[in-house]
Amino acid sequence: MRKAIALKICMFCLCLAFPSVVSFGQSQGMPGRIQVLKKEMARNFEALQKEPTPPYYLSYSIDEIRTQFVAAAFGAVTAKGENNTSNLGINLRAGSYKLDNSHELRGDSLGALRSRLSGSIRAPLGESQEALALLLWKETDKAYRNAVETLSRVKSEQSVKIAEEDKSDDFTRIEPHQSIAKPIQIQVDLDKWATRLRKYTSAFKPHAYIYDSSASFQSEVRHKYFVDTEGTVVSSPVNYMRLSISANTKADDGMELPLYVSYFGYKESDFPSESSILKDIGNLIDTLGKLRTAPIVDPYAGPAILAGKASGVFFHEILGHRLEGHRIKSESDSQTFKKKVGEKILPDFMSIVFDPSLRSLNGLVLSGAYDYDDEATKGERVVSIKNGILQDFLMSRTPADKFPRSNGHARSQPGAKPVSRQSNLIVESQNMLPETKLRERLIEECKKQNKPFGLLFTDISGGQTTVSRSAANAFNVVPLVVYRIYTNGQPDEIVRGVDIIGTPLTVFGKILATGSGMEVFNGTCGAESGSIPVSAVSPSILVGEIEVQKKAKSQEKPPILPRPIKTITARERSE
């Protein structure tokens, strides 16, 4: 199982004033979709109660998404448009909270893949009550048949195979709640953004060594309607805006050198000024120029500083994915931390918190925020690690041993089956040193270990980690900008061509101190329930030993011919 954080970062302030949430006791005044969902849920659920294996739980959800996008390269627009989708999710459970059709069938990889892919059902784009009722009728029928068939396989497996380690229930109750918020109305002016993107990407034109450049802006407005047979009704909006600008070049030895800047916000005024974005682009061009001729780092193990964003990704991959609750239940997962609750796994000055209720922190906008998760449970602040001691996991309504309740971290991309996933990961430290002090500590540590230099990772594109039992439990983080910090006072030197590697448990013990400034990585995390927006906030960290390996490199030479630039051809003159 591979997970990756895609390339998206941001840094700015302010948070969105979210629409006021009103609660209703009954259906009057509820949106038409909710009324149809409730009516059909009751009708289908009741009729199926007469069957020999009746469902004990049914939920319907509809995710409506409206996306506006524009993309450009070298000053020209490459794509522009608008997209509307609506997806239906059905969760029908037969059996009981103790044992139901969601129970893991061991060794059934095809079935797991099938259930993952079959989740996405297209729903009406507009308000069409009759068509929605028809769709619910047909799809509930299908979901019910699958549930009954799967449940009988689950039961037969219970009697044939050895007992599982985890004795927890398959589903947990939540207190029914009702919350109706209106959809957000946001319509951005795409022509205006097209003009901006032309300007941003034109900045790359004069630099012949930049082979490719692109910029994209996307505004996404979502609305979720949810009803279930326990009595929960939620109508909840969320929106995202992202701007990302990337460029790449190649070193003479063929190594691809991509860099990007990206920005996240809930509204257009969250984005920095044009001059500030152009300044970032200028820095990016500058750094690319330096990277092309930078020396390649040999495999190295020694002290290093991960700057805030790099450290955020590091914790997201190495720690965060292993705190997702469904993994400690799965028989195929390596369950790194299952037996370590109450034990120290980080230095005692560090804590790890997940908080979906925060839309900003210390002026940083966070993209992993939401009111309700994809099972309509309110997102809760979870202190996973307190003073270095493991306390809690991220839980959905699928319990695990000793963790019976959901803390609102069931997440999925629309249409997929939710599992426990990360929200806003926040690294807290009680050993914060000013950045200059942290650097001094790095040099000290290098001298102690007899190393001529340490490494500083300032920018990172993402990473991936393996959590299954059938493969080595390792991680890989892909740095974009790395410097050598010399102990002899020599100026810092930019280098290229390294990946950070390692195994999770060994690295955590080696964190020595943290910096004081917090940085955020706002990105998209991909895993079994699809792509979801997340963030990771962290100060920079000093690690006593980090291992780097050579990056796999393209064997292809740089382009043979220079990038074409406008020349008046003979034919044009004659025309």
């Binding site: 059909e40 009708r43 289908n44 009729a47 199926l48 069957e51 450009a72 390269a73 070298f74 000053g75 020209a76 627009v77 490459t78 794509a79 522009k80 448009g81 608008e82 997209n83 509307n84 989708t85 609506s86 095809l110 893949l113 099938r114 892919l117 079959s118 297209r122 729903a123 009406p124 784009l125 507009g126 069409s128 009759e130 068509a131 929605l132 009722a133 028809l134 769709l135 619910l136 009728w137 047909k138 509930t140 029928d141 032309r198 034109k205 082979y211 490719d212 292809e556 030479k557 382009p559 043979i560 011919l561 990038r563 074409p564 630039i565 406008k566 051809t569 034919r571 044009e572 025309e575």
Partner: protein, 599 residues
């Protein structure tokens, strides 16, 4: 008043398009092509001997309604480049070779063949994209040619065909299409049609799908050919499904094609047709379940068109099977790609009274648009009218610039990565009025001592058989099993099939599917009708089965998009002997437990 304003607007856009775009696009293409031919060269290696750029400047709409409401409504404006860069020589180059040792590389190469180009008319940026794509293609072509040479050293070659045939220099500048599409008008149509299925308790599932693609295709190659090819297709599919009391799934379709959506049938006519589609489905629900059958079958109109597209359509192309670097892969490719008709030139392949010819230049027939018509193929060759079967004897195949045994030159049928049908006319000297053809069926039935014969009025369209609600994994697993033996083909399920009794009585039945049909079955055509049916169908679905690039396209995701080529067959109804019909097997889903939702 409104109408005249609308037309004026269209006219203006069209004018701008004609004069602004092709100059920027074609100039950028010509200039980068010239530079690639002159200077794109690694030290110690030869430069390309041939380069072509094909740029699709397209506007597409896809509007789908499920269960009576629109669920997909996309409007896509894009430009996509497909390039063909060759190193070596016409005799031996980097084409027609697959290295399965590097399947990932193969897929990335295939997808690198499709590049997104800016929709702004910006000379510099269009050239930049052409430059990048050419650079990648050149390096990968050199690598492939080296591997190919190494691999061929160890094997004895049974044929010494060149890899690529020469093309003549052409200037084929068609009149550019307007790329303006009125999305709201067409989503309104789809929405209204789909609503006809609401409150119809006999129908469980409905789908209305409109696919509109208009484009101008710009083409240049290093042999000096320049082309502007207008492209437009509008395809409307209506599908509905239900279950019989025993659970057997019943489904039926209507497809309508036109060059532009304005030319589709009027809304009222479509509405009436949908009502009759529903009546047919409801009737099929209560029809008796048929038993196994072997004997004469009459393929009527649409069914005759589908029979052609699923049978002959695939056999009449001169596909070249690439060489691979392992015997196992060669065997697999052969199974997918081998066309037994390549070895049947000048042999009898159909009944004596049948002739087939390709007439790609024919744009309309009896006022019907022939969507398989075009002016320049994907390899810069003007399509030629070609006689394929004369009095039952196979004379020629539809070819691309990849020569096969017996066919050394292209007749301009390279489309979508392999040769494909254009406009095919089926003519017969044994034709009779339709009622007489039915008499012939009865006669043949009596002769064989059968109690009745079969008339097929509707055959599930290939495109529907692949898409629809099929479970993704199941259809992938089905693909893995590969096609049947190359000497046989499979037909999709009939969606409208009748028994014809000797007394002339017709009886609708259900639950039949076709057994495998031998490619020799076309010799068993007994007679044809004297009327003709114009049938436009998409060739992409066939390409998926029939060509390597099709298979790769399937793997590399439809995300790469691109235009969907059409073919046309003009055919009479056909009476065919020796057809096996099998009883549908498999467990049927139970009827829905919960009742149809009330209003």
């Amino acid at each position: 008043m409104l109408r005249s304003i609308f037309l004026t607007a269209l006219f203006l856009v069209y004018q701008c398009g004609a004069f602004a775009q092709n100059k920027v696009i074609l100039n950028a293409m010509k200039d980068e092509l010239a530079r690639s031919m002159e200077q794109l060269k690694l030290e110690k290696e030869a430069g390309p001997y041939y380069v072509s750029y094909l740029l699709q400047d397209a506007h597409t709409l896809r509007i789908t309604a499920d269960y009576g409401a629109i669920t997909v409504n996309t409007d896509n404006r894009y430009r996509m480049l497909k390039l063909d860069l060759r190193v070596g020589s016409y005799a031996q180059d980097n084409s027609n070779f697959v290295s399965l040792a590097n399947l990932a590389g193969l897929i990335s190469t295939a997808s690198a063949g499709s590049v997104r180009i800016p929709i702004d008319d910006d000379y510099d940026v269009i050239r930049t994209q052409l430059w990048q794509a050419s650079d990648r293609a050149y390096k990968s072509a050199l690598e492939t040619l080296n591997k190919k040479k190494a691999s061929l050293q160890n094997t004895v070659q049974t044929d010494s065909l060149p890899d690529f045939s020469k093309g003549e220099t052409l200037s084929s500048l068609g009149t550019e299409n307007s790329l303006v599409l009125q999305r709201d008008q067409w989503s309104g149509l789809v929405d209204q049609l789909s609503k006809l299925f609401l409150n119809q308790p006999g129908i469980q599932r409905s789908k209305v799908d409109l696919n509109v693609q208009v484009a101008n295709i710009y083409y240049v190659n290093s042999e000096g050919t320049t082309g502007i090819e207008p492209f437009s297709v509008a395809r409307l599919t209506v599908a509905a499904a239900t279950q019989a009391q025993d659970g057997m799934p019943i489904q039926n379709f209507r497809t309508y094609t036109a060059a532009r959506p304005e030319n589709l049938p009027e809304r009222a006519a479509l509405g009436r047709d949908i009502q009759s589609l529903m009546s047919e489905i409801l009737a099929a629900r209560n029809a008796p379940v048929a038993e196994e059958y072997s004997g004469p079958v009459l393929f009527e109109a649409q069914a005759s068109g589908e029979l052609f597209s699923q049978g002959f359509g695939n056999l009449l192309v001169a596909r070249k099977s690439p060489t691979a670097d392992s015997p196992q892969t060669n065997a697999m490719l052969g199974r997918f790609l081998e066309n037994p008709f390549v070895n049947k030139l000048n042999l009898k392949v159909a009944s004596n009274f049948l002739s087939l010819k390709a007439t790609p230049s024919l744009k309309t027939y009896n006022q019907k648009a022939l969507l398989g018509s075009y002016g320049l193929d994907d390899e810069g060759i003007r399509p030629q009218d070609t006689s394929l079967i004369e009095n039952g004897i196979l004379k020629n195949l539809l070819s691309s610039r990849a020569p096969v045994k017996g066919i050394s030159q292209s007749n301009g049928h390279a489309r979508g990565g392999s040769p494909a049908a254009s406009v095919i006319q089926v003519t017969s000297t044994n034709k009779k009025p339709y009622t007489q053809l039915k008499e012939d069926l009865i006669h043949a039935v009596k002769e064989e001592g059968l109690p009745f014969g079969y008339v097929v009025r509707g055959l599930t369209p290939t495109a529907e058989a692949f898409g629809g609600d099929a479970d993704i994994i199941d259809s992938l697993l089905a693909t893995q099993q590969g096609p049947p033996e190359p000497t046989q083909f499979k037909l999709t399920k009939p969606c409208s099939i009748f028994r014809l009794y000797p007394d002339g009585k017709e009886e609708l039945v259900r639950g039949l599917e076709f057994g495998s049909i031998s490619i020799n079955a076309f010799k068993n055509i007994l007679a044809t009708s004297d009327d003709e049916f114009v049938y436009n169908y998409p060739v992409s679905a066939l390409n998926v089965l029939g060509s390597l690039s099709g298979i790769l396209n399937l793997l590399g995701a439809s995300a790469s998009g691109g235009l969907e080529n059409s073919a046309t067959v003009i055919t009479p109804s056909m009476l065919m002997g020796g057809i096996d019909l099998k009883k549908s097997t498999g467990a049927y889903p139970k009827l829905p437990i919960v009742s149809y939702p009330s209003k």
